[in-house]
Amino acid sequence: MADPVLAVNNITLTFGGVTALDDVSFAIQPGEILGLIGPNGAGKTTCFNVVTGVYRPTAGDVSFQGQPLAGMKRHQITRLGIARTFQNIRLFKSMTALENVMVGADARHSTGVLSALFRLPRHRREEREGEDRAMELLRFMGLQAKCDELAANLSYGDQRRLEIARAMATKPALLCLDEPAAGFNPVEKRTLMTLIHNVRDQGYTVLLIEHDMRLVMGVTDRIVVLEFGKKIAEGSPDVIRNDPAVIAAYLGVDEESEATDEPAITDGGDRAS
């Protein structure tokens, strides 16, 4: 078996008196789509933040393609190959869609003041490459017509897709998506599921946080379940669906589904192909 793309080893994170993550470990294989689920406050976004270098773990380590991430700066981690989107969309509002994605592409470039000032070949090459790659990604997301629209003026769904395009522009090996379907209607969710599969087919590995069970069951290869900062289950969607610990964790959150007679954890009936 190849080296895991990401290995999270015994990560513990405490702030003040709160233990946000408690001895969490899991690994992601290349080409996998791994889902990270759990009730609110379980520590999912915190986990993302540790992986992308936003938080330093109190104990444990994370390694990416065999390389430990300890002490690395955030932009270095991105250059290493981990990219992410945000739960509450953080696009560069006053820049156009194209410019947003090009910032992502810039992560792989090294043009500086001198190259820019004298329009040296490196600048010209990197600008062309960046723009081409950005347009390609916008096309992939269906946003090419809106490339010159300000990010602030895009629709909610377009903004979410733009964020994914921007993250992809950094040429990551691992793409971390934080609730990419939040606020989407069922049709949009289904399109997103296809999109995520297409992303994986392009060669990316995906780590996904999501609340929508149908989407998670339908799109992921494996799932890790967190509750109160601890990992309580790990396995394929079928295994997770039937895991008593997971069901118990969600039981408290499931008054709505009881009321509508839906099962506590829905199956991947609408699996996208």
Binding site: T52, G53, V54, K73, R74, H75, T78, R79, A83, R84, F86, R90, L91, F92, K93, S94, M95, T96, E99, M102, V103, G104, D106, A107, R108, H109, T111, G112, V113, S115, A116, L117, F118, R119, H123, E126, E127, G130, D148, E149, L150, R166, A167, T170
Partner: protein, 387 residues
């Protein structure tokens, strides 16, 4: 908001935007031609002595020089504040460093020729920018403002208290730029209401003397044009994008791979470069420097120029600088009220139009899209009004 109010508001906005869109929609050679014409006009301005614009009682060339230097400073500060989003309230420090470096090198301390002193002045200013930035740019945004303010004052107080730098009296007998006297150009005279060529009022091309300040203005104008080019080249590149991303959302930018600290430091260095250059020009024209020319008030006026004009927009900040520098000279009685009026302008602008007179421009394509959207909206507005 009543419909009539919004209609009239948007129609003037429409007109304004249409003018700018029309200009930017012109084909490239036409735009180039317009710019060359504008530049020629700028050079010729002091010779033309247009009646309502010239400043009574003060040498017009000198006023134009001051305006030009302020514009240059505003361009430099625009990089720091407008592009990178770093509030620097002590920018006058770089200006002072540039001026004093030229002073120290060209006066009896060093006896260097003026032109050789300029690169040194710029270099020292850049170094001071890096020295200031390296420790302070890790500090939170609003604290950075106070730290830079402190730094500006530390520089000034050091100048006042260091005998080697002339203390309160400053340094005199600074070298002027080198002159080559080629030919003489007459001015226009409007005394009779009709422009007449006046051979009594002439400017020698190019003599940097004491009485006729127009050649200094020409020098400053040339520097501005060069800086404008450099600014555009750098802004429309990875560097400019990284600055904008850092300004918009520093954490997200870092997570998208932008080495934000490095770029913030770069912005400081670039800003210091331009600031130092302006200071060097100022010293060459003035012939002496003293700490009195570098008060905190000047830093605040510079920031006012950038904010009023439209931070992030190189033309906007130049307009802001022109307003800050020109109005008190043109309306002499205005001088006293200048600070109060600018203070009031800052409050009003902060509340009603924080983006300034000219907000940052976006790409030509984006503006064209906006115009299309506007036209669509106008169509529906009219229909709504009729219906």
């Amino acid at each position: 908001m009543s419909s009539t109010a919004s209609a009239s508001g948007s129609s003037s906005a429409r007109e304004r935007r249409s003018f700018r869109t029309r200009i930017s929609a012109l084909p490239k050679p036409a735009k180039l031609g317009l710019m060359v014409l504008a530049a020629l006009f700028a050079y010729a301005l002091p010779l033309l002595e247009p009646p309502f614009i010239t400043t009574p009682g003060t040498d017009f060339g000198g006023v134009l020089f001051t305006v030009a230097v302020y514009m240059l400073v505003a361009l430099g500060l625009n990089i720091v504040v407008g592009y990178a989003g770093l509030l620097d309230l002590g920018y006058v420090a770089f200006y002072a460093v540039g001026a004093y470096t030229v002073a120290v090198l060209t006066s009896e301390h060093g006896n260097w020729p003026y032109l050789l002193a300029i690169p040194m002045a710029v270099g020292v200013a850049m170094l001071s920018g890096l020295a200031l930035g390296a420790p302070t740019l890790r500090v939170r945004g609003d604290y950075l403002a106070i730290v830079t303010l402190g730094f500006g004052e530390i520089v000034r107080l050091t100048l006042v208290n260091t005998p080697w730098l002339g203390s309160a009296a400053g340094i005199a007998r600074i070298d002027r730029p080198p002159s080559i006297e080629l030919f003489t150009i007459p001015h226009l005279n409007w005394d009779t209401g009709v422009p007449l060529v006046d051979f009594g009022q002439t400017t020698i091309f190019v003599r940097f003397g004491v009485l006729d300040l127009i050649p200094y203005y020409w020098l400053a104008l040339t520097v501005i044009i060069l800086v404008l080019f450099g600014d555009k080249l750098i802004k429309d590149s990875r560097v400019g994008r990284s600055w904008e991303a850092t300004r918009e959302d520093e954490d997200a930018a870092e997570l998208m791979g932008v080495p934000t600290f490095r770029f913030k430091l770069l912005a400081f260095a670039m800003g210091a470069f331009v600031g130092g250059l302006s200071g060097a020009l100022f010293a060459g024209r003035q012939g002496f420097v003293s700490p009195q020319s570098f008060l905190l008030l000047l830093s605040i006026l510079f920031v006012a120029a950038v904010v009023v004009g439209g931070q992030g927009n190189r033309w906007g900040v130049m307009i802001g600088a022109a307003i800050v520098a020109y109005l008190p000279e043109r309306f002499r009685g205005f001088e006293e009220w200048r600070v109060m009026l600018f203070g009031a302008a800052l409050i009003v602008l902060a509340i009603y139009r924080p983006q300034g007179i000219l907000p940052p421009r976006r790409t030509v394509r984006a503006r064209r899209m906006e115009q299309e959207i506007e036209e669509l909206e106008e169509g529906t507005e009219e229909e709504g009004a009729r219906g």
